[in-house]
Amino acid sequence: MSDVTRLSAAELAEQLGRGDVTSVEVTQAHLDRIAAVDPAIHAFLHVSSDEALATAADVDARRAAGEPLHALAGVPIAVKDVVVTKDIPTTAGSKILDGWIPPYDATLVTRLRQAGLPILGKTNMDEFAMGSSTEHSAYGPTRNPWDETRIPGGSGGGSAAAVAAFEAPLAIGTDTGGSIRQPAAVTGSVGVKPTYGGVSRYGLIAMASSLDQAGPVTRSVLDSALLHELIGGHDPRDSTSIPESLPELVAAARGGDVAGMRLGVVSQLSGDGYEPGVKARFDDALALLADAGAEIVEVSCPSFDYALDAYYLIMPSEASSNLARFDGMRFGARTLPDEGPVTAERVMAATRGAGFGPEVKRRIMLGTYALSAGYYDAYYGSAQKVRTLIQRDFAAAFDKVDVLVSPTSPTTAFELGAKLDDPMAMYLNDVATIPANLAGVPGISLPSGLSSDGLPAGFQILGPAKADDRLYRVGSVLERLLEQQWGGPLLAQAPTLEVA
């Protein structure tokens, strides 16, 4: 029984459908696994065992009664703690939300519940999704299942580690500048940032509204497609949600084929700063795709050189405003001033002083400055212009090629603490993922193999907006070819964790 945790979600779904296992058994197995390995990994901030088992029992009963169920019904899932869950604590990795139990569900959570996916718990993350290592969590870092001295990526390190450590077959992440794709890359999992507006943001605690996007973190390309189809689609509560229906994602993942496709290698995303081992795995993967009939084309996107700069103005600007509501007035923690009068303003200040961590404060200050009178045009305004240029670069590139490809992250997982005191070095880790967020286009990261240090590297595929199916079409082919080489999923090669 214990090996149900090693299966992909699609395999689990099949076994559940055939009645080989029950959802209660599957859910319990994952809860047991969490109990065994999470003390070392710390992927979870909250484990919702009772709720998960109740959902599992309900699905089993409905299945036994012959009710038609969603393909993923009964497959448990972990949800990043930035996603609001009714009656399940939600903190966004921050002390300022310590003890907050939301009175409502995010739209994507409603869809998970309706489809009967037991929610195992809430995963660790950098505070308010600010960071690339999960070290900025107010509740302590998550560790990489491949090497516990290393970071699992961020901000969604908890979701990626939960999937890679076999604590959950599926997880939800959010990606503002790479927070799904980079953790997926450094943990050997698959992560997808859908087209902006493709998955409702209603109930996602916002960092930067115009960049945030929720998406799947899984162990296979097909699993991501299954989850993406479930959580995606129009939501009237999110004004920026795309009104048209999603393209056929699962079909694309099952029927992948790259013959005749043109893959553009972005020259700006494969040069200096990329570790040789990461670059080598990327080139090997490209060769496989070329052998499978894809045409490899070099593409230049010159404005990408300014993406990081634009991102680090737009993101904190929006964050400074989005985080203003955390003031100790309506929800979450409230801190009274140590001394002196207790006025609304002083309570807000004391609450924010005590409740926000240093990275959050840094970005609020940056954003407040960038939006302030006299600086708006120079900073926020200029950054928006760069954003438009990046969008044009993508548009021009997609006139020539079907998808763009690059390594997901310049490096494999770095050591815990290595970049904690150097924000700029931390920010540079997102150089390859950020352009997609600025342009709203979809991206996937899947494992390209192990780099020279024995740690996973990621392969990123970017498509035009609303053409998320192309990610799955190309990704599934590459995954199949690589797994033929490896003799199975890359995660099967992950070290067996010491069981507590």
Binding site: P102, Y202, R237, T240, S321, R325, D327, M329, R330, L371
Partner: protein
């Protein structure tokens, strides 16, 4: 404290320039950005959703009806309607502001560059130029408990978020120049005309006393109409027509005093005090308030199609001033009568009463007479008495048919207000119908004439006005249920006159 300058003297010396910002709460079923009900006077914090509470993760979605109302207002103010506009965030911290930013429109309003012709008391028309009308959301409401009820010295404060997210349209004028001594009247008439428009359009109940319509009045003085604009003050939240006029008058006198003494007017917000008709200093308002506006990334732009705008334009109701002129002509009211009706907000019920078959004169008599008096005594709106246009039309019909006289009709109306039913039901229930049986009436007349032969002698002697002395006792005998003119006729007939 500067000395006030007499208003006429101040106006002789300085030229006033007005600027008026009017906020109107739209009467939509739900709030600006979420599905919470938009309703007044509910239990505190009962009309809220995660969106109106600004909970983490909550997102706004624009209320299409609110956009429609904003466009209607823009069209009624002769504005251009934007083909594409956006919301922006106005960032500031305050406990009644759930997200600590207000979602508003900043540099891209839905409507801009219009004008409104305002009719003054003597019929003169003054054109006010409109700079913009934009959409935004209201904030919640703070109540300070303990101390004087103001925030200073309060023990604690309570916040009610029912109003948070209620849709508002803010209408901003260009500087209103050339009003001269009539500036206070122009200010009042402008806000009044706007209020009428909101009601005619059906976009708001527009009740000043409930804060549905709030006006901020900017005023500055300058040496003469050619001079550059002076420093202005902004008197906030003036909420009656009379107060608007008085606030302007006061500021003209006050600022003239400051300037005459060689001082400089401070740019600041000011509060208006009803009891003393004066203003006092609020907070200094420099142009340096930094709201860090930026386009609201949670909302897609608003792009009303031209077809929709033209549909709304075609369906605009008749402008209030045109409607007033038309109705006055139809009803044959004098200017004074019409002004009284308009001032008492009775145009609507009278129109409906006339439509229900009542003569315009009778409709006016009942609404602005008996009903207005009763409403005033009970301290409610005349429309809240439970008497509808159909009731008044029926009542007037009963009078016309000779079934009720005025005194009886007033008693019937009392019954209607008391909830005893429609006029005919009250008449039957209270037994108020006039006696039409000539026998009973003749008997009462005969009795009265027999009782007072001296009066009869006077009448027969030619003093016809003495009839009055007999009518009283006969009416009493008939318990009021007789037609006085018929009694008079009978007496004269029997007295041989």
């Amino acid at each position: 404290m500067t000395d006030l300058v007499d208003y006429d003297e101040a106006i002789a010396e300085f030229d006033p320039v007005l600027g008026i910002e009017v906020h109107v709460e739209l009467g939509t079923a739900t709030k600006m950005f979420d599905g919470a009900p938009n309703s007044f006077a509910a239990e505190p914090n009962s009309q809220v959703t995660p969106v109106s509470l600004g909970l983490p993760g909550a997102l706004p979605a624009v209320n299409r009806r609110a956009v429609e109302y904003a466009i209607k207002i823009g069209l009624a103010l002769n504005c251009e309607i934007a083909e594409y506009c956006r919301f922006a965030r106005k960032n500031y911290f305050y406990p009644d502001n759930p997200k600590n930013f207000q979602t508003s429109q900043y540099d891209e309003p839905i409507a801009y560059e219009g004008h409104l012709d305002v009719e003054l008391d003597d019929g003169e028309v003054f054109r006010v130029k409109i700079e913009r009308a934009h959409m935004e959301e209201d904030a919640g409401k703070n109540t300070h408990v303990g101390g004087s009820g103001r925030i200073q010295g309060a023990d604690h404060s309570l916040v009610d978020y029912n109003r948070a997210g209620v849709p508002l349209v803010e209408i901003v004028t260009h500087p209103i120049e050339g009003a001269g001594s009539r500036a206070p009247e122009v200010a009042r008439a402008y806000v009044r005309t706007l209020r009428d428009i909101f009601r005619t359009l059906g976009v708001s109940e527009a009740r000043m006393e409930q804060g549905n319509v709030r006006a901020d009045v900017n005023l500055s003085l300058r040496a003469d109409p050619g001079a550059p604009l002076g420093t202005r003050t902004e008197t906030k939240n003036v909420n009656s027509f009379r107060s608007i006029e008085r606030a302007v008058r006061y500021e003209v006198s006050r600022q003239a005093g400051v300037l005459r003494a060689g001082g400089a007017v401070t740019q600041e917000t000011r509060h208006f005090h009803e009891d003393t008709a004066s203003t006092s200093s609020g907070r200094p308002k420099s142009d340096a308030d930094d709201y860090r506006y930026f386009p609201e990334p949670d909302l897609v732009p608003v792009a009303p199609s031209r077809e929709w705008v033209e549909e709304l334009r075609a369906a605009l109701p008749e402008p209030a001033s045109d409607r007033r002129k038309r109705l006055q002509a139809e009803w044959g009211y004098s200017d004074l009568e019409m002004r009284d009706v308009v001032n008492a907000d009775l145009l609507e019920p009278i129109e409906q009463t006339v439509a229900a078959g009542c003569a315009p004169a009778a409709a006016r008599k009942w609404w602005s007479g008996e009903l207005a008096r009763t409403a005033k005594a009970k301290d409610v709106e005349v429309t809240e008495l439970g008497v509808g246009p159909a009731h008044i039309a029926e009542l007037a019909g009963l009078v016309d048919a000779g079934k009720l006289n005025d005194a009886l009709a007033r008693q019937v109306l009392e019954g209607v207000i008391a909830g005893e039913g429609a006029p005919s039901e009250v008449m039957a229930g209270r037994g108020l119908e006039m006696v039409s049986d000539d026998g009973a009436l003749t008997a009462a007349v005969d009795k009265a004439m027999a009782d007072q032969p001296d009066v009869v002698a006077k009448i027969q002697g030619g003093k016809v006005q003495a009839v009055g002395a007999l009518i009283g006792p006969i009416m009493k005998e008939m318990r009021g249920k007789a037609d006085a003119s018929k009694i008079r006729e009978l007496i004269l007939e029997r007295a041989g006159q």
